[in-house]
């Protein structure tokens, strides 16, 4: 196989990174948990595209295999698990009931920071990521390293989602955004970590999601809601 030209590689990589960042912002914008999970799956595809492109450009087959694995996990398995959890929480199907107010578990009805402010914050966080990553980019100015701030921005947005969203499932997505961001940063900065570390991290994430899925169901049975602010009762 002929390596793709540098121009095409750069454009495709930038496209993937742009989609990756956009997906994170869309997660902040949407309230429907179903839509959030769908966006997360799309982000998984964009994330898988990054090592794929790097692998094709640098002719590293191992990286392409990793890309396939990441795509299967982040765009396939994890969204599937979350959709199942969502279906368990809303037995009659979330879509038909979205006009009922507040009782629906399928909507992020009252985030601690409203959507408009969230989007502005995301912009500010992206700027911060670009500012912070400047010295890192200066170390090795190539197309991959120039896209590095995107990974950091997604890390920050993931943390922001964790800190401001009420529904347990939205929290899970926040955590996974954080992890996607870390993975993307690793690929963009160092063309990926050793395979064994990547495997370990992926397994870890899978376990975390499984545990969180169980916890979410338990929370629902214990408190009747998955608003994690109700966990405060455990403190008192």
């Amino acid at each position: 196989m002929r390596p793709m030209s540098t121009g095409t590689y750069t454009q495709l990589l930038d496209l993937a990174c742009g989609a990756f960042l956009l997906a994170a912002v869309v997660v902040l914008w949407r309230r429907e948990l179903v839509a959030i999970v769908r966006t997360f799956a799309l982000q998984g595809i964009a994330l898988a595209a990054i090592p794929l492109l790097i692998g094709l450009h640098e002719q590293r087959w191992g990286l392409i295999a990793v890309a396939t694995g990441i795509g299967a996990l982040r765009a396939g398995l994890l969204p599937y698990l979350m959709r199942r959890a969502l279906a368990a929480l809303t037995p009659s199907g979330g879509e038909e009931h979205h006009y009922e107010e507040d009782v629906s578990e399928a909507r992020e009805t009252q985030p601690l920071v409203n959507v408009a402010a969230s989007l502005l914050t995301a912009a500010a966080l992206t700027l911060l990521a670009y500012a912070v990553a400047r010295p890192l980019v200066a170390l090795n100015p190539g197309p991959a390293a120039r896209a590095l701030p995107v990974g950091l921005a997604v890390v920050l947005i993931g943390l922001f989602v964790l800190a401001t969203r009420r529904r347990a499932l939205a929290q899970v997505v926040g955590f996974l955004l954080l992890d996607n961001g870390i993975t993307a940063t690793a690929f963009l900065a160092a063309s990926g970590v050793p395979l064994i570390v990547e495997l370990g991290v992926s397994f870890d994430v899978l376990l975390a999601v499984l545990v969180l899925q169980i916890l979410t169901t338990r929370m629902r049975t214990a408190f009747g809601t998955t608003d994690i602010d109700d966990l405060r009762e455990l403190h008192d």
Binding site: L112, L125, L128, A129, A131, V132, R134, P135, L156, L159, F160, L162, A163, T164, R166, I228, D229, L231, R232, E233, L234, H235, D236
Partner: protein, 677 residues
């Protein structure tokens, strides 16, 4: 041939055997096995120390023993002195401990407490041998933890033990933090953490770094030595520990605080400006007076002895401070004399305080009481213990022919002759220090008259005291060894002369020759003074014999003696409740020092019902709280508790809040980084 290495090896092996014996031997033979091993450890330490005092030096580096830093040991005469004292005390107290812990299976004779004892004895011997900061701190911490476990060994029996253990743990770790900070700064600035590197690097450090190092390290060591205001653990931990442990702590462990100050201040830092030493003298003087005043008010026998430890360590600190002061003003020989006096007082204190704590332990074991107000009449029931306690008390009151007298006399000599040193500070401080020593000696006399007279003479004031019986032979043997040390120190202190000189010159102060003259005489080379303790003792004994015997001789010739009942003012036979108690004996002193002690009095009058004139009950309560604790520690603890309560509000239970902390922390950090670039 150098015996230090083999002796220290033997001490370690014996301590290891003792730990194993404490773990494995069943209850009937446990204390004997552990006691024998601990005594062996102490004996080996004594041998090593004496060899080092004789001028031998020894050092070893064991890089594989501790990860990263390794272990480095070195013994010079200064460490030898402290090793010898710790070893001798540990050996005698271990023999005593065999009888004290007996064959029980709980408390002080439990598996854990017995297994820790040899380890504690070993660390007491090894701490002075440490020759690098890491080795020193590790040994120091093992010593603190071992003593903490020993203090806690009776925690099932009494709740106060747990509270005392908590105080001790917190105070000793505060001290450790100070030492860690000071020594780490020292090592970082000196460019190496072995003592040799510190010694070499100290001269090149800036004055204020040296000052910071000295002040933090001295504060840490002073807290171990019971210096006011960091003494708060001492009157709590010493009474609640089993008595043989109290003896070890009070006679051997607190000394290591003095060792640290001498080692760091004189040897490693090579002396310093006057204000360091004036501060040390001030701390010592306050400790001496405050300690002995609190001892005068205490009616708990072991608490009294603990406060007396604070007093004696205060006197030693005064001596060390005076030595530094003289050295700073260039008067080397006088500095050496003051240091020798301080070290000799520390040795004397170790001997008599170990004996006193052991005797107090015998009383506690025989009666179950520490409260002097409820003791009494023990002289007839426990004659040997009473005699040994009297011997120890004689040493503690600093009057001839006790052993404490000689060192305090030396200390006074050095302070009085120190007035030749020019300067306003010395002209004010030295006379004040002399007055402090005199005052504390006077109060000590009252304290020990109280302890001996109220505790051992008169009639028993409780059933327990009435039923007391003499202690088993192992305890008497241990106390006998300590008593022999006291007597030896009182009669022939001159034998220590050359050893003490070597220790002082190892600390960098040469040319004292303070105690010379073939052992029988103490002659000072620098100042025209000499003392022959043996002759003092003989003269005093003769005078006493004459004073006691002459009236009897004359009286016998005049008329025969008749035994008659005591005149009781017609109020019936006097009961033991009418006799002087410790509290009533101390009452006049309390009135004199009312402003310092600030006692709390409470009178509760309960009238008979429906009558304002007939009184059913009058309840009088008086407490003499430790005022420094009251004014310094309690507000501080309350403030800390408030702070902790306020900090709980940070943890409100909301997961979002916790996640928000992480988020804002990260963003703030990144912002700082972004702006910084």
């Amino acid at each position: 041939m150098n015996v230090i290495g083999p002796a220290l090896g033997a001490a370690s092996a014996l301590a290891g055997a003792g730990v194993a014996a404490g773990m494995l031997v069943p209850a009937w033979g446990r204390s004997a096995a552990v006691g024998a091993c601990t005594a062996g450890t102490g004996g080996a330490g004594l041998v090593a120390g004496v060899a080092a005092l004789g001028g031998a030096r020894w050092s070893i580096g064991l890089p594989g023993l501790l990860p990263l830093a390794g272990v480095r040991l070195a013994v010079d005469p200064l460490s030898g002195l402290f090793m010898a004292v710790a070893g001798a005390v540990a050996a005698a107290v271990a023999v005593y401990g065999i009888g004290y812990t007996g064959r029980g299976a709980h408390g002080a004779s439990s598996r854990g407490a017995q297994a820790v004892l040899p380890l504690f004895a070993l660390t007491l011997v090894l701490v002075p041998a440490a020759a690098s900061v890491s080795t020193f701190l590790v040994l120091w911490e093992v010593m603190a933890l071992a003593s903490l476990l020993l203090v806690l060994s009776e925690h099932r029996e009494r709740a106060e033990v747990r509270r005392a253990g908590l105080w001790y743990a917190v105070m000793t770790h505060l001290g450790l933090v100070l030492l860690l900070a000071g020594l780490a700064l020292f090592a970082a600035r000196a460019g190496g953490q072995s003592f040799a590197a510190l010694r070499a690097g100290a001269a090149g450090m800036s004055a204020w770094i040296r000052a910071v190092v000295f002040v933090t390290v001295a504060a840490g060591f002073a807290s171990k030595a019971g210096g006011v205001p960091l003494h708060a653990w001492l009157p709590r931990a010493h009474p609640e520990a089993p008595s043989h442990v109290s003896a070890l702590m009070s006679a051997a462990m607190v000394n290591l605080g003095i060792y640290g100050i001498v080692r760091v201040g004189f040897d490693l830092l090579g002396g310093g400006p006057m204000w360091w030493w004036l501060g040390l003298i001030a701390v010592g003087a306050v400790s001496a007076v405050y300690g002995i005043l609190q001892a005068a008010m205490a009616s708990d026998l072991k608490r009294l002895l603990a406060y007396s430890t604070s007093e004696n360590m205060g006197l030693v600190l005064v001596g060390v401070g005076a030595a530094g002061l003289f050295a700073a003003s260039g008067n080397g020989p006088l500095a050496a004399l003051a240091l020798v006096a301080a070290l000799l007082h520390m040795i004397n204190h170790a001997a008599f305080k170990a004996l006193l704590f052991c005797a107090a332990g015998s009383v506690l074991r025989a009666t179950g009481l520490r409260d002097l107000d409820r003791l009494g009449g023990l002289r007839q029931r426990m004659p040997v213990t009473a005699g040994l306690f009297a011997l120890g008390a004689l040493g503690a009151v600093a009057l001839p022919p006790g052993n404490g007298f000689i060192s305090e006399w030396l200390l006074l000599q050095s302070l009085i002759h120190g007035l030749v040193v020019p300067g306003v500070a010395t002209a004010i401080v030295l006379p004040l220090a002399v007055a402090v020593i005199a005052l504390s000696a006077g109060l000590a006399a009252a304290v020990f008259v109280k302890a001996l007279g109220v505790g051992f003479s008169a009639r028993p004031r409780s059933k327990q005291a009435e039923r007391a019986a003499e202690s088993p032979p192992a305890m008497l043997a241990g106390m006998g060894l300590l008593a022999a040390c006291c007597a030896g120190l009182a009669l022939v202190p001159g034998v220590l002369g050359s050893g003490l000189d070597r220790a002082a010159s190892a600390a960098g102060l040469t040319g004292a020759k303070a105690l010379s003259g073939g052992g029988l005489q103490v002659r000072l080379q620098q100042v025209p003074a000499s003392l022959a303790p043996l002759w003092v003792v003989i003269a005093l004994t003769a005078a006493l014999a004459v004073a006691a015997g002459l009236p009897r001789l004359i009286g016998r010739r005049r008329r025969r003696r008749k035994n008659a009942r005591l005149w009781d003012c017609g109020g019936g036979a006097p009961t033991p409740r009418m006799a002087y108690t410790a509290t009533s004996f101390a009452e006049p002193l309390q009135r004199v020092f009312d402003d310092v002690l600030a006692p709390e009095q409470d009178v509760n009058v309960t009238p008979v019902r429906e009558s304002a004139y007939l009184v059913e009950r009058v309840r009088y309560q008086r407490r003499v709280p430790d005022r420094i604790e009251h004014r310094l520690y309690e507000p501080m603890l309350a403030a800390l508790a408030r702070l902790g309560g306020a900090a709980r509000r940070l943890a409100g239970g909301s997961v979002h809040l916790y996640l928000g902390y992480g988020f804002f922390g990260l963003v703030a950090l990144l912002l700082v980084l972004a702006v910084g670039w």
